[in-house]
Symmetry: C2
């Protein structure tokens, strides 16, 4: 991709402009003179769960729902309102989070004694601005812009995977105050974790187990079975199918799965990216169409880990909403948060019908 310009912000963080087309002036300088933010992030091993937990004590004071005229993700339109993006306009921008949960410069401790194991919270957290329009939405972007976002995510997936110690790159969007989004400007995030996240580790083991037993890919098999069953299909393309998973955890949940067995975003070809740039926002618009108000949702790319189990991995985009009815949210309470048993009150077949617009 040729339309990338890299600059450094005043506190030395990296920022990348990804432009829909070449020829834009991206020479503006960040003149805020920001102090360098230190990350004390660390990860601690939860012995009883067998999982890492990230402790990021420095993040408590991060920016929280600022007024629109102080949005740090808008471009810098005048010298009195300098933002994270020095340019007066942009298409797509990616930069290091000023209050990262994970950082290669983390000063967190390393101590291993078998019961209380700590490592620095190494990794990287980036912010992805989808548009300079503060009131826009990913679902409303034209396909050319979605394509630029996908190119940016693909580019960053490769770049972050090359950082020593990074084992997984997770690109996602949180949308809606209902799920705690602190900045309303349309944006996503990328977390580069120093371990394979528990959710993806379980998927990795499931893919490996199925492959050992059958010689096939479990995601390919599930995709074929969903296409044959039909009841949970939401939208079908030439290269991707969107369906509500058979055992959906969330009231409205969709998996967008490429027909070709590919591990991650960088492996997608031109035809696939072109279709995805239309199908992805189309699925989001289906979520927004469910009730009278925009749907709070989380969209996350389940890509292959940087190293472990790449050949067996099959890319998928998971999109889910916590809204179960107008004015009603799905909360994670005792069963989900205490025991990790999800109770879903909406049958996946009904959810698919609603997302297809049938009721």
């Amino acid at each position: 991709m040729s339309n990338i310009t890299e600059i450094h912000l005043s506190d030395s963080r990296e920022l990348f402009y990804f432009d829909d087309a070449p020829g834009k002036d991206r020479s503006a300088v960040d003149e805020r003179g920001l102090p360098h933010v230190t990350s004390t992030s660390e990860r601690r091993w939860d012995n009883l769960a067998g999982e890492w937990v990230v402790i990021a004590g420095h993040r408590q004071s991060r920016t929280f729902l600022p007024p629109t005229d102080q949005c740090p993700l808008c471009p810098t339109r005048d010298a009195d309102h300098r933002t994270e993006i020095p340019a007066p306009d942009y298409d797509v921008v990616v930069f290091e989070n000023r209050f990262p949960s994970l950082s290669v410069a983390s000063t967190g401790e390393s101590a291993v004694d078998g019961l209380f194991d700590t490592e620095p919270g190494n990794g990287r957290c980036e912010v992805v601005c989808f548009t300079s329009d503060h009131n826009g939405a990913f679902s409303q972007l034209p396909p050319e812009r979605v394509r630029t976002v996908l190119d940016a995510l693909s580019n960053r997936t490769e770049a972050l995977g090359r950082i020593p110690g990074v084992e997984y790159v997770f690109a996602f969007e949180n949308r809606g105050e209902e799920i705690g989004v602190t900045l309303s400007h349309p944006h996503g995030q990328i977390y580069a974790y120093p371990f394979v996240p528990p959710r993806m580790e379980r998927t990795r083991q499931a893919l490996r187990g199925y492959h050992e037993a059958t010689g096939e890919c479990l995601q390919c098999a599930l995709l074929a079975a969903e296409q044959a069953a039909g009841a949970r299909i939401v939208e079908k393309g030439t290269h991707f199918t969107a369906y509500v998973p058979f055992a959906a955890r969330w009231p409205y949940e969709v998996m967008i799965v490429p027909h070709r067995h590919v591990p991650d975003l960088p492996a997608l070809n031109e035809d696939e990216l072109a279709e995805l740039a239309e199908l992805y926002p189309s699925v989001l618009r289906r979520f927004d169409g469910l009730f009278e108000q925009p749907a709070p949702y989380i969209a996350g790319w389940q890509q292959a880990p940087v190293r472990a189990g790449r050949e067996q991995w099959h890319l998928a985009l998971q999109v889910f909403s916590i809204r179960r009815a107008p004015g009603k949210l799905k909360y994670l309470a005792g069963s989900e948060s205490g025991a990790a048993v999800w109770i879903n009150d909406i049958a996946p077949e009904k959810a698919a019908a609603a997302l297809r617009g049938e009721n």
Copy 2:
């Protein structure tokens, strides 16, 4: 325990009065003539996660924040306001949930084909009313009443564990509208699952692995290490210690662990129950004391499974709040809900100091 009276509600559900002392008249009859509610609940196997998910489509229409004068958990004080509890007063009451996520009478399907495996949502969901006082709180109950609640949970743990197919009994309390509680009357719940919940299954494997490697109990070892470290201790008794776990996931999280290696509530002795009846609400009051408003919290009993790994299991009560600051909640967004990586913004040592009242 001798002060138990069993009756049946008008739709044939079981209800148990647990009284602080004997001699109460519990002969009142449910005259509502309720129709029988059918459960279509099923559990579906999530192949990619290797976990069961419960699909309970019939629950969407359940009671949602009714006005106080229609609270179904208050006693039946007059014939115009008949509730779930026929008696005009009660101490502690346990009854089958009218809209259960799991039911032994579930009509859900059973179908196994390797990719789309379904079983009926067998099991049982019960409601535990802690007091007839609609505006009360578990944290404010006198020790005698907490003791009756503990006796009730213990009794139901044994009874539910005897139901064929039940593999785990999870007793918990959700408190606060912030976590989606639909009835504000002080109450808890008991879920009898037809499988060991994923969270407890991971703990079971961790306990087994540690025992195989060292011959010791991991929970005993963690407890001793926490007592030696001191920084995360919240409250220390003769028989129990309350501490913030080293790798806490939630802004404020406490484990209340018995010093004796016991598998579940029925295994506690008189001295332990007496201390727990004071220490448990004391810890809850510490949560309420953190900010200017009552803390939304989840409290869940991590008991041994009905069959698997009982000898190695060590009972613990987990209490956690999603409030991270006044007016600010911890939301589960992309990292937690999409990748199962918890990011905790409050260092466990600081949380423990705050819960001890030190800042």
